[in-house]
């Protein structure tokens, strides 16, 4: 069977890797190319780069970064952040990105998902959704969580799938930065209504949290940033831990 995936996420600003807590308070966590190579060599199954610069000038910096990353790593990677047209997607894929993720722009213009999916294949279109639990309802938020909408996570996730998304990246804003575990109830529900893979994001603090995301949340992949960047969780140890808990993962190389 296909393995569960562990995905370090690198938040990128002006070509550097940063990670905020609850989307604010940015800290520099290193050189993205060096980090990418490190993760690729040390058991990460995929990488995600989220560019939070989102200016025209920043776009060129991101293109260069994608090219340099693709040169040195031999695992797949996704690039997201402010992507709103097929031309940008084409430029990213051309430089070696495997997938792109779209978020606010797809919510505001859902036909973008269909257009990207038709042009590049559903397998490379990840729809990212940030949602917050408000009065027992998971509500979609846009622009890095700053703008609330009246749409629920589940409605938007289903619609995104039907429009041609190949994968869903769900970030729980309630859990993000808390290190208290993933939003397993929401993940479980997403996994029951969707027939595309789901990536869980937000809340990783311990190795047990990953086990729970895979067992309780039934997620296909789990993403985290700071616990990896600050070496609070070592991916090799995490993978051994997951194996001990009978989670089907790709073991790390011992050579």
């Amino acid at each position: 069977m296909v393995c569960k995936r562990i995905i370090p996420c690198l938040d990128i600003k002006d070509g550097r890797c940063v990670k905020g807590t609850n989307f604010v308070d940015l800290k520099d966590a290193g050189d993205p190319i060096a980090l990418a190579k490190f993760y690729s060599d040390n058991g990460a199954d995929e990488l995600v780069f989220l560019d939070i610069t989102a200016t025209e000038q920043g776009r060129d910096t991101l293109y260069d970064l994608v090219y340099e990353v693709a040169k040195v790593i031999d695992i797949p990677f996704t690039v997201g952040g402010g992507i709103s047209n097929p031309r940008v997607v084409e430029e990213l894929l051309k430089r070696g990105a495997d997938k792109v993720s779209v978020n606010s722009s797809a919510f505001k213009n859902p036909s973008l998902i269909t257009e990207l999916s038709k042009n590049f294949g559903a397998q490379c279109i990840v729809v990212a959704i940030d949602a917050k639990l408000i009065d027992d309802q998971w509500m979609v938020h846009l622009v890095g969580g700053k703008q609330a909408t009246q749409t629920t996570l589940y409605d938007w996730a289903l619609k995104a799938q039907n429009l041609g998304a190949g994968e869903l990246l769900f970030t729980s804003m309630n859990n993000d930065g808390t290190k208290n575990g993933f939003a397993n109830d929401a993940l479980l529900h997403l996994n029951s209504i969707l027939n595309i893979p789901v990536i869980a994001s937000g809340g990783a603090g311990s190795m047990t949290h990953f086990v729970e995301a895979f067992t309780k949340g039934k997620t296909d992949a789990a993403l985290a940033a700071s616990v990896f960047h600050f070496n609070e969780i070592d991916i090799a140890q995490l993978k051994n831990f997951l194996q001990e808990h009978n989670i089907n993962i790709r073991p790390i190389y011992n050579d």
């Binding site: 296909v2 393995c3 995936r5 090219y67 693709a70 040195v72 559903a122 397998q123 992949a221």
Partner: protein, 188 residues
């Protein structure tokens, strides 16, 4: 050693080229018939929709040419599927190199995305992990060298004469993938 990656507008050519670079080889990208014919090794990648990819091959007049190559050829992902008889994706007729039909996964999450293990009678493949990302699969057939399981068993490696093909992405399959690419290039 002249390595040509067929660049017909439907490939993940950059990643394949980088993977060869990491192994110390230089590969050129081309859709030129003479360039492809005169290569020592030909790599036929592919991502996206089969119909669009086949149209691009036809536009470049490469269908007959690829099927008749006599040097080692490596198909990757959609490239492999197009080397089969026929694919359900857009109901497209393939190059007919491998005697398999390509079908869509049913009642499973599609695409299959992630690392999966190979099963094979050959130690070269058996129990190794590779990165898969696809919604369509080639049936098991006479030319299946290694299979993989996702709901059912399907062809992960196909081989016939000088033609070899992987459903997975060797260029994204870490050290093991690099080893397979190296073996393809250095074969006698």
């Amino acid at each position: 050693m002249k390595i040509v990656i067929i660049d017909y507008g439907s490939g993940n050519v950059q990643s394949v080229q980088f993977s060869l670079q990491r192994l110390g080889y230089t590969a050129s990208l081309s859709a030129n018939k003479n360039e492809i014919k005169s290569a020592d090794r030909v790599i036929f990648p592919g991502v996206g929709h089969a119909q669009m990819a086949m149209n691009n091959l036809e536009k470049n007049d490469l269908v007959e040419l690829i099927a008749n190559l006599s040097q080692p050829v490596l198909g990757i992902c959609l490239g492999m599927q197009l080397m089969c008889n026929q694919t359900e994706e857009g109901d497209v007729k393939g190059l007919g190199i491998f005697d398999a039909k390509v079908k869509k996964f049913q009642d499973l999450k599609v695409p299959q995305i992630g690392w999966n293990t190979l099963s094979s009678s050959s130690d070269k493949y058996h129990n190794n992990y590779v990165y898969m990302i696809h919604s369509f699969y080639a049936e098991i057939c006479e030319q299946t060298q290694a299979s993989c399981t996702y709901g059912l068993n399907y062809s992960a490696v196909l081989q016939k004469d000088n033609f070899m093909a992987f459903q997975f992405h060797p260029e994204k399959s870490s050290r093991y993938g690099a080893k397979l690419i190296n073996e393809f290039i250095t074969q006698k």
